[in-house]
Symmetry: C2
Subunit: 510 residues, 2 copies
C-alpha cells in the first residue's frame, strides 16, 4: 500500500518533524543526560531514605560508602563535558531558553566546585554531624567548635568559587533561595524584629491566662497512624505515589517522579505532634506530587526554592491544620480514634493547639514565637560567614541575642547554639528560608481566599479547590520561575510580611 500512496503529502510533515528533531537534538540529548543523572541521584535518595527509616545499626559504614559512590557519580554526570557540550548546543538551538538558563545556573554552580572540595565537604560534614551529636548530648560546644571552624572554612571557599554580589553569605543563600541577598533578608528581618517581638509577647501573655490542655493520653500509635493517613489523603496526598514511615525527625523526600516519602514521629501523650508533622510534610509532598513528572530531574520538574517549598508545608500545617474549620470537621473524627477527645469543646481544643510560649528550642516552638528563632540564627550565621564573629564566641553571641528576643537565657548550649543539625552538615544560609516560607504561606493563603469558591470550600474543610489553585499557581510553575516572580504572579503583589503578621495577630492576639 504505502509504496503506491502519493509521496508528497506525507513527506511534508515528515520533513518538518525531522527538521524539528534536528532543531531539538541538543536539547533532547541534554534531557537524556539529565534523566540519567536523576536516576542516579534518586537512587541515592532511596538509599538515604532507608538509612533514616530501616537501616540496621551495624550497617551504617557500608551505607555511607554506597551513598558516597552514588553522590559522586551523580556529580560527575552533572559536571561532565558531555553535559557541558549538550548544554551549550541547546543554548545555541534556543528552543527552550528558560530551561537552558536554569540549567546553566545549576551547571555553573556545580562545575565551579572541584570534586576534591566536594569530597572534603562530605567528609567534614560526616565528621561534623557525629561531633555535633556528641557535643549536643554533653552540651559541650568546645568539642564541636573545630568542626564548625572547618565547615565554615569550606563554606567560605565555596562562596569564593561561586562568586557573590556583596558578601560571601549571598552565594550560600543563592543555593537555597535564588536571587536573594543577605542584605535583603537583613532589611526584612530588621523590620520584622520589633513587630514579631511584640506580637509574641502579647500571644504568650494571653496564652498564660488560659489553661486549656489536651486530654491526657495514651493516644495509641496505630490510631494516630490511621488518623494521619486519613487526613493526609483528605488534603490530597496520593498514597499511590507516596507513603508515611517513622523516623527520629519528620522529613519528606522524593525517590522518583511518583514516589514521595513522608515521615513523622509519635508521642503517645499527644497525637497532634505526629499529626502536625504529617500535615507539614504532606505540604512538601503535595508540592512534589504536583510537579510535572515528565520533567523529573530538570529545573522544569523541580520546586522553585526552599522558601517556596516551606510555604507549602506551613500553609497546610498552620493555615489549615491549626484552623477552626479544619477541626470543626476533624475533631469528631479524631474522637472516633481517641475516646478521650469526645468531651472536649472545640474552643478549648483550639486554645490548646494555639498555646504560645517562649521556649528555647526551635523545633518545639509555636507559630507565634517561631520566627524569632530564625532571626537569631540568621544574625549569627551571617556574622560567622563574614568572619565578623569567631566560632569560639558563638555561645555568648547566641545567648545575648536570645535573651534580648526571648527575655531569658537558654538553660544550656544543648538547648542553645547546639540545638540544630544544619551547621554540622555545612548547611549555612539555609535558616532564613523557614521564615520566608512562613511569609509566603500567609500571602498565598490570603490570595487564594480572595477567590470565593476557594474560601467557601476551605471554610467547610474541603481542600480540593485550594489544592487546585496551588497546583496551578505554584506547583506546575516549577523552578523556571524565580521565587519572587512566582509570589508576584500568584498573589498580584510583591512578597511581603503583611499577611503573615496579620495572620499571627488574628490567631494569637485577637
Amino acid at each position: 500500500m504505502a509504496r503506491h500512496a502519493p509521496t508528497h503529502p506525507p513527506l511534508q510533515p515528515l520533513r518538518q518533524a525531522r527538521k524539528l528533531r534536528r532543531m531539538h537534538a541538543a536539547l533532547d540529548l541534554l534531557r537524556t543526560l539529565a534523566r540519567e543523572q536523576a536516576l542516579v541521584a534518586s537512587a541515592a535518595s532511596v538509599i538515604g531514605w532507608d538509612q533514616e527509616t530501616y537501616l540496621p545499626d551495624a550497617a551504617h559504614g557500608w551505607r555511607a560508602e554506597q551513598l558516597a559512590w552514588l553522590s559522586e557519580k551523580a556529580h560527575q554526570l552533572a559536571t561532565s563535558s558531555r553535559w557541558s557540550d549538550a548544554l551549550t548546543a541547546a543554548e545555541n538551538e534556543g528552543s527552550a531558553p528558560a530551561l537552558t538558563a536554569a540549567m546553566r545556573r545549576e551547571h555553573d554552580r556545580a562545575t565551579k566546585l572541584p570534586g576534591e572540595l566536594i569530597a572534603r565537604e562530605a567528609q567534614a560534614a560526616s565528621l561534623g554531624k557525629q561531633a555535633w551529636a556528641a557535643a549536643r548530648k554533653n552540651s559541650d560546644f568546645n568539642t564541636f567548635a573545630p568542626h564548625l571552624e572547618s565547615l565554615l572554612h569550606i563554606a567560605r571557599e565555596k562562596a569564593e568559587r561561586w562568586g557573590y554580589p556583596h558578601e560571601p553569605y549571598d552565594a550560600l543563600l543563592d543555593g537555597y533561595e535564588r536571587d536573594t541577598r543577605a542584605s535583603d533578608i537583613a532589611t526584612l528581618f530588621d523590620s520584622l524584629r520589633p513587630r514579631l517581638r511584640e506580637l509574641a509577647a502579647t500571644a504568650v501573655e494571653r496564652s498564660a491566662t488560659r489553661r486549656a490542655q489536651l486530654p491526657a493520653g495514651p493516644y495509641p500509635i496505630a490510631a494516630q497512624q490511621a488518623l494521619n493517613a486519613e487526613i493526609a489523603a483528605a488534603l490530597g496526598f496520593d498514597f499511590q505515589a507516596g507513603r508515611i514511615d517513622t523516623t527520629a525527625h519528620p522529613f519528606c523526600t522524593t525517590l522518583g517522579p511518583r514516589d514521595i516519602r513522608l515521615t513523622t514521629r509519635y508521642d503517645e501523650t499527644d497525637f497532634t505532634s505526629s499529626l502536625f508533622g504529617v500535615m507539614h510534610e504532606a505540604g512538601h509532598g503535595l508540592y512534589e506530587q504536583g510537579l510535572p513528572t515528565s520533567e523529573f530531574g530538570l529545573p522544569s520538574g523541580q520546586a522553585a526554592s526552599l522558601g517556596i517549598h516551606e510555604s507549602q508545608s506551613r500553609l497546610w500545617e498552620n493555615h489549615i491544620g491549626r484552623s477552626r474549620p479544619f477541626w470543626e470537621k476533624w475533631l469528631p473524627k479524631a474522637a472516633q480514634h481517641f475516646p478521650q477527645l469526645r468531651t472536649i469543646e472545640l474552643d478549648d481544643f483550639l486554645s490548646a493547639i494555639h498555646r504560645a510560649e517562649f521556649s528555647p528550642v526551635r523545633v518545639e516552638a509555636d507559630e507565634a514565637t517561631y520566627d524569632l528563632h530564625i532571626l537569631l540564627r540568621f544574625d549569627i550565621e551571617r556574622l560567622l560567614v563574614a568572619g565578623e564573629l569567631a566560632v569560639k564566641d558563638v555561645p555568648a553571641a547566641w545567648n545575648d541575642r536570645f535573651r534580648d528576643l526571648f527575655g531569658f537565657l537558654p538553660p544550656d548550649d544543648a538547648r542553645g547554639c547546639l540545638q540544630d543539625i544544619h551547621w554540622s552538615m555545612g548547611g549555612l544560609g539555609y535558616f532564613p528560608t523557614y521564615t520566608l516560607g512562613n511569609l509566603n504561606a500567609a500571602q498565598l493563603f490570603a490570595a487564594a481566599n480572595q477567590i470565593p469558591e476557594i474560601a467557601t470550600a476551605t471554610a467547610h474543610a474541603d481542600y480540593a479547590p485550594l489544592l487546585g489553585w496551588l497546583r496551578e499557581n505554584i506547583h506546575t510553575r516549577t523552578a523556571l520561575t524565580s521565587p519572587a516572580d512566582l509570589i508576584q504572579a500568584a498573589t498580584g503583589r510583591a512578597p511581603s510580611p503583611d499577611d503573615h503578621l496579620h495572620h499571627l495577630a488574628q490567631r494569637y492576639t485577637a
Copy 2:
C-alpha cells in the same frame, strides 16, 4: 627521637612490607575494583528490596529504570578491561590462587555474555514476568508460551556462549551449583524417585488417619511478629545487622556486609506459616551473617552455591523448626502470645505440623512430598533446554508426570505448569538446587549431631553450638570451596541422599 634511633632494625620489616605490598599490588587493585562493584550491586539490592517491601504502586516504572541503570553499571564494572587486567596481573602474582581462580570463573562467565544479550534477557524477563502473572491468573498457558519460547531461546544462547561439557543445561546449572552436571542430577533424581514416591505415599496415608489440627485463629499479626523475632534471635540472627519486613513471598536479601533483610507473610489463621517462613529465611540470613564481612563482594565473602545456601534454610526450618525439642521449649512461649495454644498437647501440635498431603502446589508442599515437585520440574526443564520438548507440549508433559508421581491431575495449569515464577524470569536450571539443599541439610545436621556437645545442646533447644559448627564448617568456608568439597570436608562423606531419606522416614513413617 626517631632521627637518632638505629635505622636497620625498623627498616628491615619496612622493606619486607613494601615488597609484600608490591607483590600484592594487582590483588589489592582487584579487591578495590571488586569493592566498588559490590557497592553498586548492593545499592541495586537496596532498591530491589524497597521495590518488594514499600514501593508505592505508581512508582514501579521509575524504579525499573533505576534498577536497570545500577545493574548495567555493576555488569560494566565487573567486565571492564581494568578488571580483566588486574585479574590477569593478580593471577601472575600468584599470592591468592583460590581467590583468583574463583574470580576468573565469574569473570569469564560475565564477559562471555555481550551487554546486548543481557539487556535482551532483562527485557524478556520483565515481559515474561508480567505475562506469566496474567497467564497464571487466568490459567491460560497459551499467553505465556511465546514468552517461555523467547526465554528458552536466550537461555540456550547463553549456554552456547558459556560452553558446556555434555548438554546446554550443564552451563545453566553451573551458574547456580558449580561443577554439577545435568547427568549427575538425573542419576541422583532417578535413584530418589521410587524411594521418595513410596515414602511420601506412606506419610500421606498415615497423616490421613490422624486428624490433628492447629487451634483456630485469629493469631494476631503483631503477636506473630513478636514471636518470630524472638525465635530468629534465639537461632542467632543478629538484628543489629538485619531485620524482618513483610512481602507477598518470603525472601532473604543482602544489602551490605552487615545488612541482611528477611521477609515473611502473615496468615491470621495459622501462625506457623509466617514463622516457618522466618526460620527458613533466617537460615539464609545466618549464612550471610556468617560470611567474612571484610571479603564482601569477593568469592571469599560469598556463599558457596544455591544448594549450600538452601541447606542452611532447610536445616533451620525443618530439622530445627519442625523438631520435638524445638517445640518442647517454644510451644509454651508461643502460648504466651496465643492463648488458644495453652491447651494443645505437644504430640498433637507436632502431628499438625507434620501433616503430609499430596497437593499440586510446590510452595505449599510439606517436607514429605516436596522433592517430588522438584523432580518433575527438573525433568521438564532439562527436556526444554535440550530441545526435546516443545513449549506447547509443556502442560501435557507436566500433567502426565504429575499424575505418575502424585496420583491425580493438577486441577488447572495455574496450579500446574504455571505455578512457579522461575521460568518467567529466565531462571532455568535453578530448581534442582532446592532438593540438593534438602539433601545437604540432612547430611550436615546428621554430621553435627555426631558431636555430643552439639547433640545435647540441640536436644535442649540451645543452638549456639550448632551455629558455631555451621559457621566453622560452612559459612566461613565461602565460595572458595566447591559445594561437594564443602560437604565432604564438613561431614567426612561425599554428598549423599541417605540422611535425607532417613530423616523423612523417621519423621513421617516411623
